[in-house]
Amino acid sequence: MEKQLLMEDHIRKNKRDTVVICMLMIILLFSVIFAIGYILGLPPIFATAIGLPIALLYVGITFSFSVQSVIAAAKARPANPNNRNEKILIYKIEDMAIASGLPTPKVYVQDSKDINAFATGKKPEDSIICVTTGALELLNNEELEGVIGHEMSHIKNRDILVATVTVAVVGAIALLAEIALRSLLWGGGGRGKKGEGQIILLVIAIFFIILAPIFSRLVYLAISRRREYLADANGAYLTRNPEGLAKALEKIKADVIEQPRGSKTVAPLYIANPFKRALKNSIWSTHPPIDERIKRLRSM
């Protein structure tokens, strides 16, 4: 009972966080548009009438395409059932879906030598689990099952909603910063004459450049370390075998990455950070140190 209640609280908090992130994004965009209007000398009502629909539309689009943008950033493709490794992966994901009582997620594969996996989607009925080909080659059945159990728990706890939306929002902000910067460079290629429009663009670019890292921090908080421990524990409960995930994490730790693939914004979604193997425990790390996770799994 108590565990059930805890889980419901956790799910509620995840939903609330998602709303907060979308609201922040709307306020941010709206204030930028409002500022442009103000600089151009437009009446506030006019700026509001234009700014609000644009901000709502933009966030709406980012929200509804968040899953696609994550999949695109990871360069993932649907699993091919004719390949034996990928067929076994599909079976394992079906197994874990049955064990957790959830609908089966879509199975995606990312071509990469790295051992990694992530789950994404807005709700459990419409979720995706993506595993790297490196993981399929290097992990045995028991270890793969441990990793899938961990991802399945993220889906069950609704961690994927807040994580996916935040990742998409950060991506969108990075894109805006880039657009502002590019048009600034393109516009500044002329005779060095600085018009009012360029100053506005400069302000916006700086604004977004400052904001992008702040939002990245938000992602790190969204996918807090507590969620990882919880997903480890729930995953072990699903497979009834904490040792499987512990061994998989050991392999991930020992694995030297030649060339990490995928974009940096997607990093917090993975089972282990593909860019830095966080061995130290810092406030900003997306994942708890692997050694600590292994230790906790072994003491279950």
């Binding site: 009972m1 034996r84 197994d95 049955i98 009582g101």
Partner: protein
């Protein structure tokens, strides 16, 4: 004035009790539906498994001419699965089938031609897959039964369950004898 306060207090208490009752009623019904659904999941897998056996027999027959007993055991176990009536009977029968298949796959190791047969390999994968799925759906069934029983057997859920005439459900057990590793005779 006193009557008013008393009346409102009683009304609040009654509403409160009603609210709790609805909560428990819905939770018990929801869990019961979940138990039925997870049994349906197991049933689907059991059906799939018994559908795969004739294919397997057809593939294996040509190679394993001298393993009559092993093949017969598999067929017998499948027949048991088809005639099982209660969930526990089905699980017991399925367990026998798992044992018989384990022997068959162990024996198959000594037939290199068979082991190279793509159809056989696919069937072996499929059967292992359904076996895992049955194990996991049984686990999920038992998890669900556990949360149902926890409500139905503790106070105050026990009172509501008594009122609704709901009793604790049985978990699916694996029979001890079948848990032992099956003997492999060559």
């Amino acid at each position: 004035m006193i009557e008013w306060i008393l009346g409102i207090t009683i009304l609040i208490i009654v509403l409160f009790l009603l609210f709790i009752f609805f909560g428990y009623y819905n939770r018990i019904i929801r869990l019961e539906n979940r138990i039925d659904n997870s049994w349906a999941q197991i049933d689907v897998q059991l059906k799939r498994r018994s559908d795969l056996i004739p294919n397997l027999m057809e593939t294996v027959k040509g190679y394993m001419k001298h393993e009559k007993e092993t093949l017969e055991n598999v067929t017998k176990a499948r027949a048991g699965l088809m005639t099982a009536k209660t969930p526990q009977e089905s699980i017991t029968a399925d367990n026998m089938l798992t044992g018989a298949l384990k022997t068959l796959f162990a024996v198959a190791e000594s037939y290199p031609d068979l082991k190279a047969n793509q159809n056989f390999l696919n069937l072996q994968d499929e059967l292992t897959n359904t076996e895992n799925k049955i194990a996991y759906s049984r686990q999920h069934f038992n998890d669900t039964v556990l949360s149902f029983n926890n409500i139905v057997e503790t106070i105050p859920g026990k009172w509501f369950a008594g009122f609704m005439n709901k009793k604790a459900r049985d978990m699916l057990q694996i029979p001890d004898a079948d848990r032992a590793v099956p003997k492999v005779a060559f």
